[in-house]
Amino acid sequence: MTKRLMITLVSTLVLLCLCGMCTIGAGEIRIAVCAPITGNYSQYGLSFKNGTQLMAKLVNEAGGINGARIKMEIYDDKNEQKEGVNIAQRLVSDRGVAAVIGHFASGVCLATAPVFQRAGLVLISPTSSHPDFTKQGTYMFRNNVKEDVEGPCSAEFMIKQLKKKNIAIIYVNNDWGVTARDYFMEGVKKFGGKIVASEMFIDGQTKDFSPILTKINAAKAEIIYLAAMYTDSGMIAQQLNRLGYKIDLFGNSSIYNDMLIQLAGKAVEGTYLVASYFDEDPTPVVRNFIANYKKEYGVVPDQYAALAYDTAGLVVEALKICGPDRAKLRDALAGIKDYPGVTGNTTFDENRDAQKGVIILQIQNGKFVFHSRV
């Protein structure tokens, strides 16, 4: 019995050592992409995968970077911190990896940041919105609009343009939702509005929003700000409709997804939202991206794919300047100004947060329509 135990342990040991030591052939620039490929958020992981791999394909078709091909290696972080840190540790010791694109959720980013920072490997997230993320170190980058921009913009629009002062918030109880709520509430206070109700729900578990909707209706809210993903937002809209309450809805950029309309139909008609990427945008950069994406994957890209695509593009830009040296890459990336991305002109500020513009969209006749630029 003990012998069997020994044999198994030793063989596992050997397997692990082999894994730890394997590297891929030279002549290739490797970029790791850490995203939730399995689990609740796998659809977003898929967008990351598609977006980054499309960029790699296009770059390689155009001759690569100074002749070298780039390769996007996908790692499944399951949106879990432990997994993320596991992968981070692995990547950090793998000298062939030049940079890491990921993760999807701020929580995972925060957990892996110390690992990447200590080892001096760039981690650039296309979607993390937690303000503390980039504060974790000089190797942390963020390529999306933070909640401290989206929140106040939304508040300003609601109060000044829509003239609605009595506002309710429904937010998902995770780090993103709470941050979004906080910045939004600051914005509302700044522009003279009033929060009449602030209700939360648990990610992935709550399907029935009727109790909080009834409460919000009783508080006489004129409009509800949704800090929730599109699946939950869709259900909220539907249930609001079913209960017969006439309250407007305003969404975060996360509800910008065609599936929302499929799920909620008429219930989301007229809803406004902020976004930084819009697929009807006539600029050639965007149109090309959408055409290529559709050709490659057969569907229209969502904003997450767009963000991932841009993030990959930013890394490619940096690679063009300095090659796959980790430290030099960090500097090159930090210095990028006015990169013409599909999610807007991107420049990194001194905190390595991306500065982009924000636009307001509205759902009209079952489609997302451009409303105004902020």
Partner: protein, 321 residues
């Protein structure tokens, strides 16, 4: 081991096994120095952590037969207690770790009292419910735990003046913890207490009738099991430096339980084997990204179907001639 007969055979194989264990011990001690990548050291560390968790649960669910699906909650309580004490009050690791274990133990005993009378499946569900409630409290009591924002920046442990910062140092720390837990649980399982627990597992009614103080032994099992889970939790918090409620879900509890069941109820070496298997193999299987959880579920079912006593067999009642 049988008491009667086969003495010569016993001494030969026990010498061989002692040598094997010696080699194993050396290997384990040498891991950080052999020049393997820090990724491998990390894998070992993680495996040892799960071994510790599995051993702690084995005491409760394996030996005493009280199947708990809420173990992650105690692990979580230990983690949060230790993290909060060191972040808010700046207390040293030894203290916060102990506090974590004690806190987890107290809550474990709290659960034990009402759950004492419950049998089998009902008990399991109550532990599941308890685990979920604890997780929800951690998630919602934002004033204390920062809720979903988690606790970042948990300081590295400083033990007797030595700062645990490198992968190797962390590895040795968990190795020490794991060895201690193994020693304690192993000792108990071979003692009269262990026999009492097994009796309770096999047939509580009979055990009671035979004069076993079921209450006292269940308390011991619960208290110790959750204490160790808390200690490992504290270690985890200081290892990963950022914790939030998503680490301590039902999935985690079921993983820990699987280690116990797969290895064999009450069989400590089995738990170790199962941990190596279940933690290391998914790493190797990384290529099968999407199928991982699927295979994991399948393994659980197949294991129950083909070899329900676990890989190394469950510890049966001691044969008395």
């Amino acid at each position: 081991m049988q008491v009667l007969g086969g003495n010569r055979k016993a001494s030969l194989s026990s010498r061989a096994s002692r040598i094997l264990f010696g080699i194993l011990g050396l290997v384990l001690l040498a891991v950080p120095y052999v020049g393997v990548s820090s990724y491998v050291v990390r894998m070992f560390t993680l495996t040892l952590m799960y071994i510790s968790l599995g051993l702690s649960l084995n005491l409760l669910s394996g030996l005493a037969g009280q199947v708990s699906l809420g173990h992650a909650a105690f692990y979580g309580i230990g983690a949060y207690t230790s993290a909060l004490l060191s972040l808010r009050l700046g207390l040293p690791f030894m203290l916060t770790c102990l506090a974590g274990g004690i806190m987890a133990s107290l809550l474990g005993l709290l659960l034990c009292f009402p759950a004492m009378k419950l049998q089998g499946t009902y008990f399991t569900f109550v532990t599941l419910g308890f685990g979920e409630i604890v997780r929800l409290i951690i998630l919602n009591w934002a004033k204390l735990t920062r809720g979903p924002m988690g606790l970042p920046g948990i300081p590295q442990p400083v033990i007797l003046g030595i700062r645990i910062a490198s992968d190797g140092a962390y590895y040795y720390l968990i190795l020490v913890i794991a060895v201690i837990i193994y020693a304690v649980v192993s000792n108990i399982s071979n003692s009269a207490t262990g026999r009492a627990l097994v009796a309770i597992r096999e047939d509580t009614l009979v055990a009671e009738a035979m004069g076993v103080n079921v209450f006292k032994y269940k308390m011991i099992a619960f208290g110790l099991s959750t204490f160790f889970a808390g200690i490992v939790g504290a270690y985890f918090a200081h290892y990963i430096s950022f914790i939030d409620p998503s680490n301590f879900t039902f999935d985690e509890s079921s993983l820990i339980l699987s280690l116990v069941v797969l290895g064999g109820m009450g069989n400590l070496k089995g738990t170790i084997l199962a941990a190596c298997f279940l933690i290391a193999v998914p790493e190797v299987m990384r290529g099968l990204l999407a199928y991982r959880m699927l295979i994991y579920g399948l393994i659980l079912v197949l294991a129950m179907m083909i070899r329900p006593q676990g890989l190394l067999g469950s510890q049966k009642r001691m044969q008395v001639s």
